[in-house]
């Protein structure tokens, strides 16, 4: 640490001001909008909690919230489990591991909107890749339940490698003598995993869980392109509903209420995981 110096504020302030202007201010604006009835051409009308009352009575909002929760829970749970299993399996000297790691890096930054369109051709029911290759007749996109499964599968395809790479990185950082010492005591693979590997991995598991949950709640591009929220509204996640209410029906007040609700939902989930993650950064 350098000695105290006023210049530290000069370094820090631009970024802080930027966040205040472009994140905190819009967020406050959003909360304000959610208490108003906003109509183009006439002044905003304060309506108190009426947008929120509407939100809790709105069948579509409720089903969107449910769809979002199912998508987040199933998707993240499967990604984490698969990623962990693969990381444990491939945490050994293996000539192919470098190649495997390289291939697994590819989906991470693949443009989500392009991924959505690409999987549209893959899930396409007649002549698409999966049904064609496996001689199946699964209604991937036209059946509400399969459509929800489809967007979850895309998320799993894109983000399992993320979990895998992080877990593998941590596993490789565990010094070999930990295991050597452990194998003197026991030769059961399970107890080595339970008492050595798992405690070391625990902060990482929470971290990955946290990162994946926050990102999964933001999902928009994949359902927007793959299913356009359909069939009907079967895959209309909360972000998409807020977008439609705001940008298609120009109901800015109600759209903001949905967004604020989504934000609170994410915060509640995150806060429960928050305390443990705090230690990693301090």
């Amino acid at each position: 640490m350098h000695k105290d110096n006023r210049i530290k504020l000069l370094f820090l302030l631009p970024a802080v001001l930027w966040v205040l202007c472009f994140t905190i201010f819009p967020l406050i604006y959003s909360v304000r909008l959610s208490f108003f009835n906003v109509k183009i051409g006439s002044p905003d009308e304060f309506i108190g909690l009426r947008n929120y009352v509407h939100l809790f009575q709105d069948q579509r909002a409720r089903s969107s919230a449910l769809i979002t929760l199912i998508f987040v829970c199933c998707g993240v749970a499967i990604q984490m489990t698969l990623g962990m299993a693969l990381a444990l399996l491939f945490n050994r000297p293996l000539r192919l591991r470098g190649i495997l790691r390289t291939v697994m890096t590819m989906p991470l930054f693949a443009t989500p909107i392009a991924v959505g369109f690409l999987f549209f051709t893959i899930f396409y029911e007649e002549g698409g890749l999966i049904n064609g290759l496996l001689h199946l007749n699964v209604p991937w996109l036209s059946n509400p339940y399969w459509a929800l499964a489809s967007i979850t599968i895309v998320d799993i395809w894109q983000w399992t490698p993320f979990c895998f790479l992080i877990f593998l990185a941590v596993l490789q950082g565990i010094p070999a003598h930990y295991y050597e010492a452990a194998t003197l005591e026991t030769n059961k693979g399970w107890s080595v995993f339970r008492f050595i590997t798992l405690p070391i991995l625990q902060p990482t598991i929470i971290l990955v869980l946290l990162l994946r949950i926050t990102e999964a709640f933001k999902v928009f591009d994949i359902p927007f392109t793959l299913t356009t929220g359909g069939p009907g509204t079967a895959t209309q996640v909360l972000t998409m509903y807020a977008y439609r209410v705001g940008m298609r029906f120009f109901n800015y007040g109600y759209s903001s209420a949905i967004s604020v609700f989504l934000f609170i939902l994410v915060m509640v989930v995150i806060m429960t995981l928050f305390k443990k993650i705090r230690q990693t950064y301090q």
């Binding site: 640490m1 350098h2 105290d4 530290k8 504020l9 370094f11 820090l12 631009p14 970024a15 802080v16 930027w18 966040v19 472009f22 994140t23 819009p26 967020l27 604006y29 959003s30 693969l86 399996l89 491939f90 293996l94 192919l96 190649i99 390289t102 697994m104 890096t105 590819m106 991470l108 930054f109 443009t111 989500p112 909107i113 392009a114 369109f117 690409l118 549209f120 051709t121 893959i122 002549g127 790479l165 992080i166 990185a169 941590v170 990482t204 971290l207 933001k218 928009f220 591009d221 392109t225 909360l238 972000t239 807020a242 977008y243 800015y252 903001s256 967004s259 934000f263 994410v266 950064y281």
Partner: protein
């Protein structure tokens, strides 16, 4: 005998691992392969060729779709727009975020503490972008910035600023402080030290951060869809619009998919060594 048996078992299981590795890699790569395969097919063969669609065996590959798509003015414009926005956003983010990261890494803050400041930046990532979408749209409309590059650059700088602050803070912490202290003794000021010594020592992380910002900006869709519809149309918005108007033409969809994906995928491969660290905001060393 016993030794031979374990040897044999180990041998078999190592084959099983290799097969599994190939299978996992194949599943991950399959969609990319499918996109490439679709993009070099004749439109007539997009639906008639089924299964794995092996080129040369099941159909004769052609570059016609690529030529048509790349010759389209709209596509070229979207590519140029995406490049401008991504480059400028990366530059802007680095200029604002790196000094802040340096301050948090090198100076002691009391209230709030350094850890809390870093956490405050990081917590911006929790906010779903859609929660600020409508206000952003209204603000940009008020400023007359709708459908401009500036709006998209401002926006992507905002999204990526916290990531870069956290990544670079970690990078500065890991750079030895002794050189900076020596320079201070020699009478250099903090700004010079920051620019001449610290940034240079942290250059690999900085490069990785730049690449990550470029990739994220390139991929950003929700705000680009709301703000940049005609003049400032970027690649993702161009893709979404094109499918609406042209119907489902898989061969063009595949070409566009690859045009959109290739730069960020290459970036991911380039930054491979730093990607785990970058995506966990420095918490896990890759």
């Amino acid at each position: 005998m016993e030794a031979l048996r374990t040897l044999k078992r180990r041998h078999i299981s190592s084959w099983a691992y290799i097969l599994l590795a190939i299978f996992v890699a194949a599943m991950t790569f399959l969609p990319f392969y499918w996109a490439i395969s679709l993009s070099v097919r004749n439109p007539a063969e997009a639906f008639t060729v089924t299964g794995l669609a092996v080129p040369f065996v099941q159909y004769k590959p052609t570059l016609a779709n690529w030529k048509t798509e790349l010759a389209t003015g709209e596509t070229q414009k979207a590519l140029v727009n995406s490049t401008i926005v991504a480059m400028c956003a990366a530059l802007m983010t680095i200029v604002i975020a790196t000094p802040a990261a340096y301050a948090i890494a090198r100076f002691r803050f009391r209230r709030p503490s350094n850890g809390n400041i870093a956490l405050w930046f990081l917590s911006q990532r929790v906010l779903p972008p859609v929660a600020t979408a409508i206000p952003f749209f209204l603000i940009m409309r008020f400023l007359g910035l709708l459908d401009t590059h500036i709006a998209l650059i401002l926006l992507n700088t905002t999204f990526n600023l916290p990531i870069v602050v956290v990544i670079m803070r970690q990078a500065f912490i890991e750079v030895p402080i002794e050189l900076e202290e020596a320079a201070l003794v020699d009478g250099a000021n903090h700004l010079d030290i920051f620019l001449m010594i610290s940034v240079r020592l942290a250059a690999p992380s900085l490069a990785a951060a730049v690449l990550i910002v470029i990739a994220f900006t390139w991929n950003e869709f929700l705000f680009a869809l709301m703000i940049g519809t005609i003049k400032a149309k970027v690649i993702p918005v161009h893709m979404a619009g094109a499918v609406d108007t042209r119907g489902v033409q898989f061969w063009f969809v595949a070409v566009r998919t690859l045009i959109a994906m290739t730069p960020p995928v290459i970036i991911a491969l380039l930054a491979q060594r730093y990607i785990v660290r970058g995506l966990t905001f420095g918490a896990v060393k890759g």
